[in-house]
């Protein structure tokens, strides 16, 4: 109470004091002026002096006004400009990419087998398969959500199987048991309006917690951290149209469902080491949903990066091992069995070991890039393929079936981004050359062995637009067939050529 009274008194005094002082001043002034007027003789200033005084006064006021205007401007600026950046926490960002291609494939004469097996159409065609949409949300400063959804017209037009016949020496044909089919997704609504349904694929669905530069953990469906192509991932980022075959056929799983721990450490000023460890369901018939065995796949990644000015080199490896299991379920019940039982039978199971290596060197616009993948597949339960599926001919069946095998592939890419003087400052033009070699199954002599030569241009006229013009030439190894009478037949497997242009857009 006393404090309040004291504060009120002080406040009252502080308000009153200036008023009292002002009154005193006026009073003193009133008292002094007669005395001064008595002492100092009244001198009327000349007009010139008064004018000079007024000019000085005006100049002073102008300067004062200018100062106030500047202060006001600064104040307005500081109010309009937030000093803190707008927080990105909790905001969902949407972005993505899509691409469209126009291509024409040619095959050499008599190359029917090659033509039938390759998915590329022989007629000229536009090709648009879908759009990838990213949703990203920085949930907290350390926690980040990312999804990549591919909306696609597929499975419309998806082809499976090739109706294959072997022509025997006596001229008769033998159906090798495969059947051709193409998916039609056309449906009609109640008004008889027909639609072609598409599909979507969850390329990535993950959340990442970053503890620091040395350790972060991603949980979900993530891209396997191997190589260059798989990490670059999107058509606007990838230099070429044609992807390495080991990438197309998923010699290494391209995505995995599980956990990835990763980080980076600087070994020297310009030398860093990236590392990662993965634990996942591995490969399986439905690995992005559930695992059909208890054997989790594990992988380890190291990647060295050195960068100084216009020179950089990075090289790394990713090793992976996992078990593939497929199974079927059956329920047995009825008077012949003691209790109802569910029996799960493993229909196919194998262990695989894969090693992927990559190197990328960049200097003064030149890009040298290479990747290699080696895969070993060791069957515990081979696919049940019987001779009866080959019209009872075990000699033919043995050619189309093998248990454990190895597969490998590698490529080299040389590219050069033309200097600005040869293009324009805005347009980036990169010619490239590419060579690839792969063997999809080393126990099968007749197919899946190929060399590929590519050349083309990657042109980036705008920031969000990439154009690619490419020539691809596929040369298959000769087919060596063992005929039923034990003799062998060698067939030139021919050459396939693709001319393609692609436009890829990011948004």
């Amino acid at each position: 109470m006393r404090t309040t009274t004291l504060a009120s008194t002080l406040l009252f005094a502080s308000i009153l004091a200036p008023a009292v002082a002002h009154a005193q001043g006026e009073s003193e002034g009133a008292q002094n002026s007669p005395t001064e007027s008595a002492v100092v003789p009244i001198q009327k200033p000349s007009s010139e002096a008064r004018l000079e005084a007024l000019e000085k006064r005006v100049t002073g006021l102008q300067e004062e006004n200018q100062g106030l205007a500047t202060q006001l401007s600064d104040l307005q600026e500081s109010q309009s400009q937030s000093s803190e950046p707008a927080s990105e926490i909790g905001k969902t960002k949407i972005f993505g990419f899509f691409d469209m291609s126009y291509l024409k494939t040619y095959y050499s004469k008599g190359d029917t087998l090659y033509r039938a097996v390759l998915p590329m159409p022989t007629q000229s065609t536009f090709m648009l398969t879908g759009v990838n949409v990213f949703l990203a949300n920085q949930i907290t400063e350390r926690l980040k959500f990312l999804s990549e959804i591919r909306f696609t017209y597929l499975p419309l037009g998806n082809e499976s199987g090739t109706e294959t016949y072997a022509v025997l020496p006596n001229g008769s044909t033998m159906n090798l048991g495969t059947k051709y089919s193409r998916t039609d997704t056309t449906v009609s609504d109640p008004t008889a309006q027909s639609y072609r349904l598409g599909g979507l694929s969850l390329e990535r669905l993950q959340v990442t917690y970053t503890l620091n530069d040395y350790l972060a953990v991603t949980a979900g469906h993530f891209l396997t951290p191997y190589g260059i192509w798989n990490v670059d991932h999107g058509s606007p980022v990838i230099l070429m149209f044609h992807a390495p075959i080991f990438q197309s056929v998923s010699m290494m799983p391209t995505q995995q469902l599980g956990l990835q721990l990763f980080g980076r450490v600087y070994l020297a000023r310009d030398l860093s080491l990236d590392y990662a460890g993965t634990v996942s369901n591995g490969r399986g018939p439905e690995d992005s949903v559930v695992d059909l065995d208890n054997d989790k796949a594990v992988g380890l990644r190291w990647h060295l990066n050195y960068e100084i000015d216009d020179f950089s080199i990075s090289l790394g490896q990713y090793g992976y091992t996992g078990r593939y299991t497929d199974s079927k379920k059956a329920i047995y019940f009825g008077p012949g069995t003691g209790d109802t039982s569910e029996i799960t039978t493993i229909t196919q199971q194998y262990r695989e070991r894969i090693l992927a290596s990559d190197v990328l060197i960049k200097f003064f616009g030149i890009r040298l890039q290479g990747e290699a993948v080696l895969r070993q597949v060791m069957f515990d339960v081979p696919t049940q393929v019987s001779a009866s599926e080959f019209n009872g001919n075990p000699a033919v069946a043995s050619q189309y079936y093998s248990a454990s095998y190895s597969a490998w592939g590698y490529y080299g890419l040389l590219a050069y981004e033309l200097p600005e003087q040869l293009t324009t400052r805005k347009v980036r033009v990169t010619p490239y050359f590419y060579y690839e070699r792969f063997v999809l199954n080393d126990t099968v002599l007749n197919s899946g062995r190929n060399r590929t030569f590519c050349g083309g241009f990657n042109i980036k006229p705008y920031r969000n637009l990439v154009l690619k013009l490419e020539y691809d030439r596929f040369v298959s190894d000769d087919i060596v067939e063992t005929m039923p009478d034990g003799s062998t037949k060698t067939t030139n497997n021919g050459v396939g050529t693709i001319l393609v242009s692609q436009v890829a857009v990011t948004f």
């Binding site: 803190e84 960002k93 620091n212 980076r264 100084i308 980036k460």
Partner: protein
Amino acid sequence: MKTLEKLILAVVAIVWTSAVAVADSPNDLLVVANKSVAVGSVDASEIRAVFLKNKSALGGDTVFPLNAKSDSDLRAAFRSRVLKMTEEKERGYWDDEKIRKGTEPPAEVPATLKAVFSKSAGVSYVFRKDYKDGTAKILATFPE
């Protein structure tokens, strides 16, 4: 005697020229950090790594890079002197990073010094002529 005078004059000229050469310029680029950042100085490659989001800590402290507006002279100076990139290259880098990792570029602010002053662990850059003593810690200087 004349030779000695010439020698002295030459030495004075060299010293004066050197002094002028290393003199501070108002357009020097200063990389500045909030005072909460403990590290005293950093080199260009570390700053580059932070602003390209290859690194999130300096001297053990997590830092938040803050960019000047994309079309500003300050950003252009930072690009050429520290990132060693053109505007197109920098934009292309972030377009690619978004597709690869979903990573966004650092936030942009209109007044970098003010942002660093108020944002704990903030790191940014400013021209020397715009720097005010005591507002932020200078981590590195890139001459004009």
